[in-house]
Symmetry: C2
Subunit: 265 residues, 2 copies
Amino acid sequence: MEHPKESHPGADALASIPVRVDMSKQAIKVACADCSLHDLCLPIGLSTAEMDRVESLVSNRRRVKRGGTLFRSGEKFTNLYAIRTGFFKTCVTSEDGRDQVTGFQMAGEMLGLDGIVHDHHTCDAIALEDADVCIMPFDHLEEISREVKGLQHHVHKIMSREIVRENGVMLMLGSMRAEERLAAFLLNLVQRLHARGFSSTELVLRMTREEIGSYLGMKLETVSRTFSKFVEDGIVAVKQRHVQILDAQALKEIVNPGSCALQAK
Amino acid sequence: MEHPKESHPGADALASIPVRVDMSKQAIKVACADCSLHDLCLPIGLSTAEMDRVESLVSNRRRVKRGGTLFRSGEKFTNLYAIRTGFFKTCVTSEDGRDQVTGFQMAGEMLGLDGIVHDHHTCDAIALEDADVCIMPFDHLEEISREVKGLQHHVHKIMSREIVRENGVMLMLGSMRAEERLAAFLLNLVQRLHARGFSSTELVLRMTREEIGSYLGMKLETVSRTFSKFVEDGIVAVKQRHVQILDAQALKEIVNPGSCALQAK
DNA sequence: CGGGACGTTGACGGTCGTCAAAATTAGTGG
DNA sequence: CCACTAATTTTGACGACCGTCAACGTCCCG
């Protein structure tokens, strides 16, 4: 009730999603100022001069096909990436081969922050659908951050947001049961999609049951069973990866038992 | 084998842990240059001029008694804190009152990064033993980061390190069983303590079984039982909160079954 | 010395993982 | 465009792991 507005629904990112396309080559010069994800992505209130500096940062883009990797654990870190279009997952792998999906990222969100500490990436970023990202050389980003105060703070916020998001995931993994996790997952996804202009009641899952399960710390069979239970209860309709939320309030009640009595009717 | 040296054993932090003590008042002027945690905490290779700028950052300190809070969720964010001495836990609380310990922090580590995104803290930081922290006003830190390149990068690394640490915790919560989690927890703790000059085979737990359980996503009874099992197996000796590791190799085998065959004899 | 917090241990049950088989869909090459 | 194979999803049966409830033991501090 007193805390910052959106609890921990992993909000958005920097991302400079340019829209002006130069057909001449693969590496495309683009303009952040015209980008449709401008609001999600850039600090507000920059002067034109500052804006020019920031644009010099996003010099080109890269396409990643579905199933392709943007970067892999162990690779040298040089760039951050802002997602223009498409959908990614990030996974870490333990020494003995255990795999864990650590997040799903969509347009306007940032990838690569893990690589800064050791100059090498510590996770894989894999496209779950054809994607297009803005490449931001990190040394260049640091340089411009030193000049443009607004950008510096923006970068700090993005990293802090990721830390807070992961805190939320830890809470989920550490203290919720299967139904609660899946309900929280669906609400979070649909909320982020809604912020990007999509429906707040329908969504298409870009990932498999197994990937959902890995993220939520449960097996794919349990994910499937939990979906079936939600369908039985009339909370959602599921056809393949297409999910329709029929009773969002019920989902919220599942996540936060007893805490949504007299609000948001 | 190919990845960065230390997998994800949550390494250390910025922290300017000054050592020269001025007895005249509670808010104490201190010198990072003389601090014993200097190496853990500051970027290396700063000029004397830069060092002076950085020192202006850590203008004073604060003591927190055992059980006291450094900050609470919902409070306004203004400072980062570097731990000089003492031991903290951070916890997040969900709307319906669920509680999750998100980390344990010791000397040389940083607290408060969660507050940057929304200008308000999103977790509680509670001292598990009497503690002493350096206060670093964040706006001041940003200002000096713009001047001192080495400090800027250092701050970015600290935030990235926290992201990578949390990735490791997610892997643990999402894919490990009780024994594996506790083994990983003990190895991580002892490794961080060792980096601070303590024994690599003995440690004193600063937290209760319940707090360990919250962090590891299990109940306090399970923590206790798992300790007992390790004792039966001769892997550790436990007397109260004093833990002695008798067979570190066995602990590693528990965490990473099958992956430590021919190394580190 | 006594009360309260913390820790240990036991018995039991529920949640979810495991194994297996079948159904449905997606992807590939002819 | 269709056939065929691989991948994904669903559902069932069973059991292990761990949570729950409860009682008892231990330590610390006033």
